[in-house]
Amino acid sequence: MAVQEVASTPETSKVALFNDPKIRSWIFQIVLITVIGWVLYSMAINAATNLERQGIAGGFGFLSNEAGFGVNFSPFIAYTEISSYGTVFWVGLQNTLVIAFLGIILTTILGFTLGVARLSSNWVISRMAYVYVEILRNVPLLLQIFIWYKGVLALLPTAKNSLDLGIFGVVNVKAYFGPKPIFAEGAGTVAIVFLVAVIISILVARWSKKRQMATGQRFPVLWTTLGLIFLLPLIAYFIVGQPLSFEYAVEGRFGPRGGMPVLPEFTALLLALVTYTAAFIAEIVRAGILAVDRGQTEASYALGLRPGQTLRLNIIPQAMRVIIPPLTSQYLNLTKNSSLAVAIAFPDLTSIFAGTALNQTGQAVEILLMTMLTYLALSIITSMFMNWYNAKMALVER
């Protein structure tokens, strides 16, 4: 009998096959696979019959069909109403990425500022940061988007009485008309000079670090790099004859025209995402800085470092290790939360692809699968990058 083979001593010879942990776990797993497989199979069968009954053909062929609706925001991809649903997907993804990219940069700046302010020895500053964090964290993001969109931005002056912001353009309830950069011939040279300056700065930083490690002598890296990055392109800019000019919005019959219009949907979404996520980042930064032992600060002071140097050379590098993992999930949250654009009809991936395109084609399975997999891929890529960065920053122990 099989039982006899499993059992090793006469006392346990009555142990059933089912009581062997290994065999039992495999039986359990096979049952699990069967159940999940059966559920998925029946779901697929049901979906197939239901789709057939509704007369919807499956497959991704619809992606090459003409979409036929307009999209009012597409900075990089050319889009017209005769573009295909495939283009709609790319336009949506582009807009999601634009919002996420700008949002992550701005929210990091605001969040770190708030986190440091929260720990400031200045009572008013730290209280203000606290009140900001508590209010912003405890109100739903969607509500905040609506507050910005229908509440605050709707109070702006009408198109007839647009508010002139001088060199920053014009703003009214319809849109913000920023200055539109016009690049003349030679702008490419300036960009190349800028890139060269950045590369030189990196090399200088490396060289100075190496020299400091070897000889202990310090080199004013910050001022050198600032000088390189700002002065070199500036000199090049004047040498090639100032190739950059700005086009401003001009007064038209129905309000300002021209310039670089930024829709209120974009502004509201970006503002809400940035201010909301910054509240969470502030708490993360605060916790990260508090996690650094107080002895570290005292030791730095004992070595004669100034408060600023202590923060920059000692506290922040150590705090970053605590900060980075939760910061990653906040970046991911921001990216995922940008899907709330659908509520105010900003044309992001969820809004125009999983919203408008889905309603027009009825290809629910394919479209939602594509949308969800895209977000999943974005999440995985971001967390992979941040894991790499985290590993780079992590404490190297002997």
């Binding site: 009555k14 142990v15 059933a16 096959l17 089912f18 009581n19 776990s25 359990f28 797993q29 699990l32 029946s42 779901m43 049901n46 979906a47 019959t49 239901n50 789709l51 009954r53 400031s120 020895s121 200045n122 009572w123 008013v124 500053i125 203000m128 508590e134 209010i135 964290r137 405890n138 109100v139 739903p140 993001l141 969607l142 509500l143 905040q144 609506f146 507050i147 229908k150 509440g151 605050v152 709707a154 109070l155 991911l332 995922k336 939360n337 899907s339 709330l340 509520a343 969820t350 999983a354 889905l358 629910a364 399975v365 939602l368 949308t371 969800m372 977000y375 999943l376 999440s379 995985i380």
Partner: protein, 461 residues
Amino acid sequence: MSDTPSNGVVNVSYVRQQMDPAMPPPTSESGVIGWMRKNLFSSIPNTLLTLFAFYLIYLIVPGFLNWSLFDAVWTGTDRLACATTFQGGKLAEDWSGACWPYVGAYLKQFIYGRYPVEELWRANLVFVVFAVGLIPLLMPTVGYKRINLILMIGVFPVAAFVLLLGGNLSYSGFLLPNALVAPSLFKFWLDFAILTLVFCGIAYGMSRATASDPAPAIKQTLIAMAILAVVLLVAAVDFGLAEVETDRWGGLLLTMVIAITGIVASLPLGVLLALGRQSDMPIVRLFSVIFIEGWRGVPLITVLFMSSVLLPLFLPDGVTFDKLLRALIGVALFSAAYMAEVVRGGLQAIPKGQYEGAMALGLSYWQSMRMIILPQALKIVIPGIVNTFIGLFKDTTLVSIIGLLDVLGTINASHADSKWATPVQALTSYLFGAALFFVFCFMMSRYSIFMERRLDTGHKS
């Protein structure tokens, strides 16, 4: 020794025998001035920061208070109360302020949605019972936690379900083909009995396979099925309550229903997923990881789209789900993934010795989890669970996008009412909604911090 006087005091007049009382600190170091010197004006940059902060406060606070309180309209019966002369009202041309009578007129809708007025006592009763049951559960010093928890997780949802919906459900069977027995209440209970027999058979078979006594397993199965039968019976009894369909539920009531159902349903699922992720079985672990990371990697709104659009497709023909139920399924699965990660944190915080100790006592896997590991793990993740609940509570506003009328949905719907249409209507209503959510979420986050402090024993292992 001989020169010491008999009273033990050396009589040297220049040695002080009493300490002087301590001097008060200088005025520049104490009191309001000292505090301000230390905390506001300790250095030039600090002073500049303080002045900057005061400027910001000056910019924001008076404007906000004026808009929401001092310049606001408090009485009125329609939009004319909050309209400027240009808009047909009596207020000055440059007036802008909150229009509170509009919120007052809509308050009932914001709280109950379109729940019938004569049945509002049912919703109120649910709110009251919930509060009465929840408060002792949240206070760590009050006893009877186990029975309280059973009442809140087991009895309250059923009671609330019957009260809100009206009970009196009709069943028509689910197992036997309709040709054999006509669909009826009798057929339902016949099917239920057959199902119970099948489960008992499985329990018996498993006990035989493990060569253990089948009696306890069968007993447990019977008890579980009996509890289920009681729940079904209660839901089917006609209490004389009028049926209130779920599309009439709304406002805060709906928000609470979604958030609480989500958290109650996600807790057991999350525990199972967390255990699955820690499991030794590769396939179980793989499924758990895919499930957890899959849900966590996508935005909730796509999940809600999925549950409202795809779920009907995946179901067999003829089976239809309520719109609310579909959203609830989406929310529960979504929050289960987050809950699983919270619980996993607790499981990982339990020292390995506890697992080994449980094994050494000869407990089976489920016994050791139920009696040793989970009680400890769940206790230390209470703050995490509360935080997940806060997130879920805020995220319920997303159901307004798929057309359910929660607080935000009702607020947005009320903007269509021309009776109150003014430029300040939107901001007033959102301010109200924000205040409502803030009060709830702030209280919960304070509670979470309180529990964190209480549970922090000072020696984190």
